[in-house]
Amino acid sequence: MVMRGWSMPHKLSQIISWPEQQAKAKDFLDQKGWPDNRQEAWKYTSLAHLREQQFLPANGFEKLASSASVEGLEGLMIEISGGIARLHDGQSLPEGISICDISTDDSARAAIFTRLADDHLLPALSALHQTSAIAIDIEKPALSASIPPIILNITGGDKDTACYPLVMVRVHKGTTARIAEIHSSQAGLACPLMVYDVADEAALHHIRLQAEADHTTHLGLNQMQMGKNSQINSFAISMGGALSRLETHSLFLGTDSALAQSAIYLGRDRQHHDITSFVAHELRDCHSRQLIRGVLDDKARGVFQGKVRVAPDAQKTDGQQMSRALLLSRDAEADAKPELEIFADDVVCSHGATVGELDENLMFYLKSRGIAEAEARNMLIDAFLIDTLEEIEDAGFAAFMAAQIAKWSAANR
């Protein structure tokens, strides 16, 4: 069964061929161009600044993949830089993991893109400009202990180049996989497309760190689809780049599955962070839980758009979504657009969004104990984020993500 579509997923019997996909993508981009605030989906995030820019496709392994941003993570490291995706020097594939270059495999790419949202900017960009493409299969070996985490270390490029890496991950039936996506490129435009297929009874622990260069425009899409009785525990931090949008499209295609998908964005200077999420409950007895937290300083801007759709067949759905933004400066701004589209009657869904400032009473209490302004602020920021960080189940991933927040806060002093 294959599902597609952003607003109205429907069943498709046929895979659309790769040349046809590319032609459609070209048509879409030619007609629509870079969207601005006049388009509903881009109401808070305009890409008009890209209209004047030309990027060269990133190819080759221009810069040695830096390992600074993956410090603290252990596992099988795959380096994706410019047009190259390869295993880190000296590492070999453990049992249970296979990696395949699909950058010239039309049928593989056709199958992947058929399941993505139609008439949508991010898949279209990727279909047309793809710079690298790999597929990773993770399947629990019959007699083996656990499979090591996979680290996708996505780097390289420079401000005149654009990179469009594609990674397809299949977590096979009954397998538990751990994947960290670390985005720290120097590209002018980074458009990573990550597709996760979590099969029946499979589980995925996933973290995603966006720590791109100050000049980068980051347009990422994470598409996740879940089989029956599957689990995803996913957590994203967006803290880099000049303008960043992360779209997550999550589809429940089996019953009795659970998605915990939380995110934090941290903005300062004139950064713009957008997290746009779409969760589609297609079948019954599935749970989704999303906590979004944003911290914005200076003139930074934060956006959260969250849509939860519950199809008529998705009875007993439990869908929770809560977004909160904390503004540290008068000039910072946060927008939230939560949306529920419910077509089933026996469901529990809730959503909410708040925007607040640091509580002066709490600041005074800390300062009255001799704690300096910056340290007091950081204590309250940490307190604001702590329950969200506790959503991360994998201890190694949790420690890594907490360290990223500490790095960000340290620059506040």
Partner: protein, 250 residues
């Protein structure tokens, strides 16, 4: 040198004048009590001493150890030795009690040019101080003040005072909300801090507290002015007759 000297202090919040020329001098080793009707400006005085934003000093001076504190931020004043036990301590969800206490103690120590406190030693120090004040281990593990009862919050304030060893402690109605036994425990904690190096300003409505923490001076604050000062017998007089007579006489 006087520990604290408040000279002709006028304070406004926005356009509202709250304090109208307070004069008060506290020396090391002295305990001063302030009593006064609701809304007379007692908490305002405590906040303006500790440097809370929004309280404008329109006239007058506050000197700590001879130095003006008016240009100092709240955290600087605290590191210079001031401490305020809040009338209404705030809850800090997500801020762990131990790391809060350690941050406060380390801020003081850094200011004094001392090394930061050793983590294990600090836990021992806090446990010992907490035991003296009837603050149990469970409270220490929770987020600051979160889920504490009114009386527990007050004890936690005094625990902080015991750890920070201030030179000037302002206690704003630390007795309200305390049961009889807690009042004794807290008073004992305050008396332990009392000594040659520390001055105290104790704000209260009740003579009862002053039978445990015996003041050297009692001042009556009404309508933003100190209308009468005396010794501990003044507190008894207030307890007997209320404020009406005093206010009329002033």
């Amino acid at each position: 040198m006087n520990l604290l000297e408040i000279k002709n202090l006028h304070v406004s919040i926005g356009d509202t004048k709250i304090l109208h020329g307070i004069n008060l001098t506290i020396n090391r080793g002295e305990v001063h009590a302030i009593m006064g009707p609701n809304g007379s400006g007692k908490s305002t005085l405590s906040y303006v001493l500790s440097g809370r934003d929004g309280y404008e000093v329109t006239e007058g001076e506050i000197l700590l150890d001879g130095q003006s504190v008016l240009e100092m931020e709240a955290d600087e004043r605290a590191r210079a030795g001031m401490f305020l036990a809040f009338q209404y301590p705030v809850e800090l969800p997500g801020v762990s009690g131990m790391s809060f206490l350690r941050a406060a103690v380390n801020a003081r120590r850094r200011e004094a040019g001392e090394d930061e406190v050793d983590q294990l030693e600090f836990v021992k120090l806090v446990r010992a101080a907490a035991a003296d004040l009837g603050v149990d281990n469970d409270m220490l593990k929770r987020a600051v003040n979160v889920g504490f009862s009114g009386g527990e919050k007050k004890r936690y304030e005094i625990l902080q005072m015991a750890l920070l060893q201030p030179s000037l402690a302002v206690l704003d109605e630390t007795d309200s909300g305390l049961d009889v036994d807690a009042l004794k425990i807290v008073s004992h904690g305050v008396n332990a801090q009392r000594g040659a190096s520390c001055g105290m300003l104790v704000i209260t409505h009740y003579q009862r507290l002053l039978s445990h923490i015996v003041p050297d001076y009692v001042h009556i604050l009404a309508g933003g002015r100190i209308i009468k000062s005396g010794d501990k017998s003044l507190a008894l007089e207030v307890e007997e007759n209320g404020y009406a007579g005093l206010v009329d006489a002033a």
